[in-house]
Amino acid sequence: MNGIVFDIRRYSVHDGPGIRSTVFLKGCPLRCFWCHNPESQATGITKIRKTETLDGKSTIADENVGYSISDQAVVNTILRDRLCYEESNGGVTFSGGEPLLQPDFLLSMLRMCHEEGIHTAVDTSGFASREIFTRVAEATNMLLLDIKTTHGNKHLEATGQNNKVIVENLKSLNNPNLQLIIRIPLIPGINDTREELSASLQLLQSIRQPVERVDILPFHRLGQHKYEALGLLPSPKLPNHHATPNTREAISLFNQAGFWVKEGG
């Protein structure tokens, strides 16, 4: 079975435990205005302008984003770093885009990895049908799930989609074998207030599935140069500064509530 992947990154150290290979699946239903990988949003194979500099001279050419690849070929690449996973208790992380947008491809690769004894993680927005979400949650060792805001309208404004599906999916989880890591990207103007973060905290306290860890991701503007290469304009909503002032506060809020918190992924 083939799917569309836009990158496989090896020795990835911020996408789950240990040394991992991260497989980026193309296409995403959300349009977060701060997205660091805007080239991954559209489904299928698309184009991006690429500048190549050699001895100070630059040329610009269109390059494909995404390629069609078989599940087996992806897994073969993943297996190349088996020793690193063994030495570090690492594995593979499927990210995106939104990996749940290619569910059969994803599920097939998860199955193949487990047959090879490779630890799997899926990095998702949670925006998928209940059926797909549940099947993936059952097929992976770990879920890295983004919580942006609990506020429906704000979520719509920030991502182009309502968060009802995401919240309901999260609440539906109740699987003793699943490691759940919640990732909270701090977005200025969206969720960087105490009220917003407290609401997210309450949500986490209300679900049945135990939360292994909460990752607080400080805001940064990485990837903004890509918008131009895609012929897009960066969102006017994007603030100019890198660090969110209340990262420490956010960490201590979740810490005090008894969660294991980590800054960054």
Binding site: R80, C84, E87
Partner: protein, 788 residues
């Protein structure tokens, strides 16, 4: 904690200027003019020569120091070795004035050279003898930059002290010599007279070192007498007592052991100018009994031990490598002398060797932050991760030391070469990355071998464009190279031709050293020279190896991949047009060059399309060299390391099919071409492990990380996992440069702000400011790996 005494000594060492000292040259000349020298067999002559130097050289005792002895009259006053190579007045001037690593000489040095040294030695040096014997073919290849010759200006060395000398003094060795003499077979042995000469030379050399120590004791007594500082007076008296005991007798305390070694070190580097100076090897193993005994008997505490070790470290830094002349200045534009301290690894019984001193010595390395001695940590699967973490603590500070070696690979390499398990486990790496059995092996590096240049010559049917000469054989013009296999066959013929030539040359040089410049002092130290009554330079050691060092693996791999893909498989262009583009240095071929650089698989990305060519090149080189015998009884082997020779080899090599421009550096060690690895460090180590490291005597892999990579404990674990993975795949060595490119760029703008900035160059570290601009540029370019 660094005491104020140590800080003063350290500053003195850092600030001392490299100077040429004519003292040794004058003493050696003086000796060779004397009656004692005339008509003596070479080993006896050399023994007397060392005795003469040690009887007359000036004694230098620096204020406050606890370990004494300088090779020259002062720290960094560097002697010359006119019997090996003779500096002209012009050479002295170049060394004096050159912007990088200058060696100052004053009028007295120039006068000594003009009036005494040059008139006596002109035409009579080892280098003259050697150059007179080399064939025109050898000279053509040498001029073309196919290979370099290590023993052209420096003596063979490449060895490390083993266990023996920590338990024996010179007087014990005199007994061993007597015993060896007793065992000679006067009835059947046809070389009896040569052996007697050798043993006599060794005897003289042992006495020479005792003489040197005695003269230090006398001077220390004199200083003690004159000292107004009552505490220093006691120290000086104690040091005098130590110098009267060692190296004549075996040391019993840590202080004695360090002083004992240091005299031995001076003996080796004064007798001749052997490559890689010399080094104490497995220091945490050797010093442990002395340290533990001192602690148990209340002679010193951990802090006092630390101070002694600091003082010991500074002695190494006072001794830059002796300056060379001509082409070799380019081959290795560095003047550190490659004393590589080994820590960690396994004991001779194979068990984990890490001990409390291992960690204390790591602290000493971190505190001293000196160029010399250099340091490495051996990592066996039996060593704890803590050892790696403590090492990364130092690596992350951007100091470039210690580098990491795979003990289990080294042991396998040495055993493949025929060492016993015990001798192999008592080994390690010295110089840059070279494996050796410490105390029992002469593993002599003979020269770098420019694999990429040989490919260039293959594409020109043996002709070297740069020198305008037919340097190689006629292996077929382009029209005959109509398949990739035929191209590789032609390349292989050229490699075999040049390896053969190189080895012939080396065998000859080896004979010159054995005949004219034996090393009776070094022979005392390395088993079984005394028992065999045979010189180190003549094959007296238990194990004898000669290495040829392949350079340019990454550049050549990418070149072959490009030609295979674009010329033979896709037929995008003909071989003729490729060669034309190369001959034009890609002028008017920009599009082709972009395709070669950006659209061609590269070594270092775990892509078999490229990596298979690396394996093929490796095997051709290995098969051409490995197992060939030398007259002294050594076996030729390969290793893959460049020091800084990839810069020189790059300068003499035209544009290459990987898109590299003429004259620019080749890839170094087995590292990917600078910037070609784009799939992270795990892909790099997977690629690197595809060649069979166990069949080498060392490989060098460089990885650069920015400091941010070491920010949290998690990243330590992940780097440790990377190292362990590479070592599970038999990787020999990996080193980390931890600096940001911005820091380095700033260092180029403001060198004055970065005088202490040390970077790992290639198996060793050097001051960034002392590196040539091209090397600085290259270090900036090397891919920075960010795990994100």
């Amino acid at each position: 904690m660094i005491t104020s005494r140590v800080e003063k000594l350290r500053q003195q060492s850092l600030q001392a200027e490299n100077r040429i000292s004519a003292e040794r040259a004058l003493l050696v000349t003086d000796f060779y003019k004397s009656k004692t020298a005339v008509g003596q067999p070479a080993p006896v002559q050399r023994g007397h020569c060392l005795l003469h130097i040690f009887q007359h050289k000036s004694i230098c005792i620096n204020p406050g120091e606890l370990i004494v002895g300088e090779r020259g009259p002062a720290p960094k006053a560097t002697p010359t070795y006119p019997e090996v190579t003779l500096h002209s007045l012009h050479d002295l001037e170049v060394l004096h004035n050159r912007p990088k690593v200058s060696f100052k000489s004053d009028e007295s040095v120039r006068q000594a050279y003009r009036d005494v040294v040059i008139p006596f030695w002109e035409g009579k040096t080892h280098r003259d003898r050697m150059m007179n014997r080399m064939t025109p073919e050898w000279k053509k290849a040498y001029a073309a930059g196919i290979f370099t010759e290590f023993q052209e200006q420096r003596a063979p060395g490449h060895t490390v002290l083993g266990n023996k000398m920590w338990n024996k003094g010179m007087l014990d060795l005199l007994n061993d010599i007597e015993e060896s003499r007793r065992c000679l077979d006067y009835h059947n042995d046809t070389s009896i007279s040569i052996k007697l000469d050798e043993l006599e030379g060794m005897e003289l050399a042992a006495q020479a070192l005792i003489k040197l120590a005695d003269r230090h004791a006398d001077e220390l007594d004199r200083l003690a007498e004159a000292s107004a500082d009552s505490q220093r007076k006691i120290e000086l008296q104690q040091m005098a007592a130590i110098c009267r005991k060692v190296p004549a007798r075996a040391p019993e305390t840590l202080h004695e052991a360090l002083q004992h070694y240091w005299f031995i070190h001076l003996g080796v580097i004064t007798e001749l100018n052997p490559w890689d100076s010399f080094n104490p090897g497995r220091l945490d193993q050797h010093l442990l009994p002395f340290y533990q005994r001192d602690l148990a008997e209340g002679r010193l505490d951990r802090e006092q031990a630390r101070e002694l070790l600091h003082c010991f470290w500074i002695k190494f830094n006072n001794h830059p490598a002796p300056p060379k002349i001509g082409v070799t200045a380019l081959e290795s534009n560095t003047y550190t002398d490659f004393a590589l301290i080994n820590l960690g690894g396994v004991k001779t019984d194979g068990s984990d060797a890490v001990n409390e001193l291992t960690y204390l010595l790591l602290e000493v390395i971190q505190e001293m932050r000196l160029l010399q001695p250099s340091s490495m940590v051996q990592i066996s699967k039996k060593n704890p991760d803590r050892l790696i973490h403590k090492t990364l603590d130092i690596t992350r500070t951007g100091f470039g030391q210690p580098s990491l070696f795979n003990t289990d690979a080294i042991v396998q390499e040495l055993m493949r070469q025929g060492k016993s398990p015990e001798d192999a486990r008592h080994g390690g790496a010295s110089g840059c990355v070279e494996s050796g059995a410490f105390g029992t092996e002469a593993y002599i590096l003979t020269g770098y071998f420019n694999l990429t240049k040989i490919f260039e010559i293959t594409l020109h049917n043996g002709f070297d464009k740069r020198t305008g000469q037919q340097a190689g054989i006629a292996s077929g013009d382009l029209s005959t190279l109509d398949t990739f296999d035929r191209l590789m066959k032609a390349f292989k013929e050229q490699v075999n031709y040049f390896v053969d030539m190189k080895i012939k040359g080396n065998n000859l040089i080896e004979g010159l050293f054995a005949t004219h410049l034996p090393a009776p002092f070094l022979s005392l130290l390395i088993d079984d020279c005394i028992a065999n009554a045979r010189d180190y330079n003549a094959g007296g050691a238990r194990y004898n190896t000669s290495y040829l060092q392949g350079v340019g693996l990454g550049s050549l791999t990418d070149s072959l991949t490009a030609i295979k893909l674009h010329v033979y498989d896709r037929k995008t262009l003909t071989l003729e047009s490729m060669v034309k583009a190369l001959d034009n240095n890609f002028a008017d071929y920009e599009e082709l060059r972009r395709m070669l650089v950006f659209k061609t698989p590269k070594w270092g990305n775990d892509d078999d399309t490229a990596d298979n060519h690396a394996v093929e090149i490796f095997n051709i080189f290995f098969n051409a060299v490995d197992g060939r015998p030398s007259p002294r009884g050594a076996t030729y082997r390969i290793n893959m390391l460049p020091t800084t020779c990839h810069i020189y080899f790059g300068q003499v090599t035209g544009a290459t099919p990987d898109g590299r421009l003429a004259g620019t550096p080749l890839s170094e060690g087995i590292s990917p071409v600078q910037g070609a690895d784009q799939h992270g460090p795990s892909a790099v180590v997977r690629s690197a492990a595809k060649i069979d490291h166990i069949k080498t005597g060392g490989t060098l892999l460089n990885q650069k990380f920015t400091p941010s990579f070491f920010d949290d404990p998690e990243s330590y674990k992940k780097l440790t996992a990377l190292i362990r993975s590479y070592f599970r795949m038999d990787g020999h060595h990996i080193q980390f440069n931890v600096v940001s490119a911005d820091t380095l760029r700033d260092a180029r703008q403001h060198p004055e702000k970065y005088r202490d900035l040390i970077v790992r160059v290639a198996g060793y570290s050097d001051y960034f400011n002392d590196l040539g601009e091209d090397l600085q540029e290259e270090i900036i370019r090397r891919t920075e790996h960010h795990g994100d």
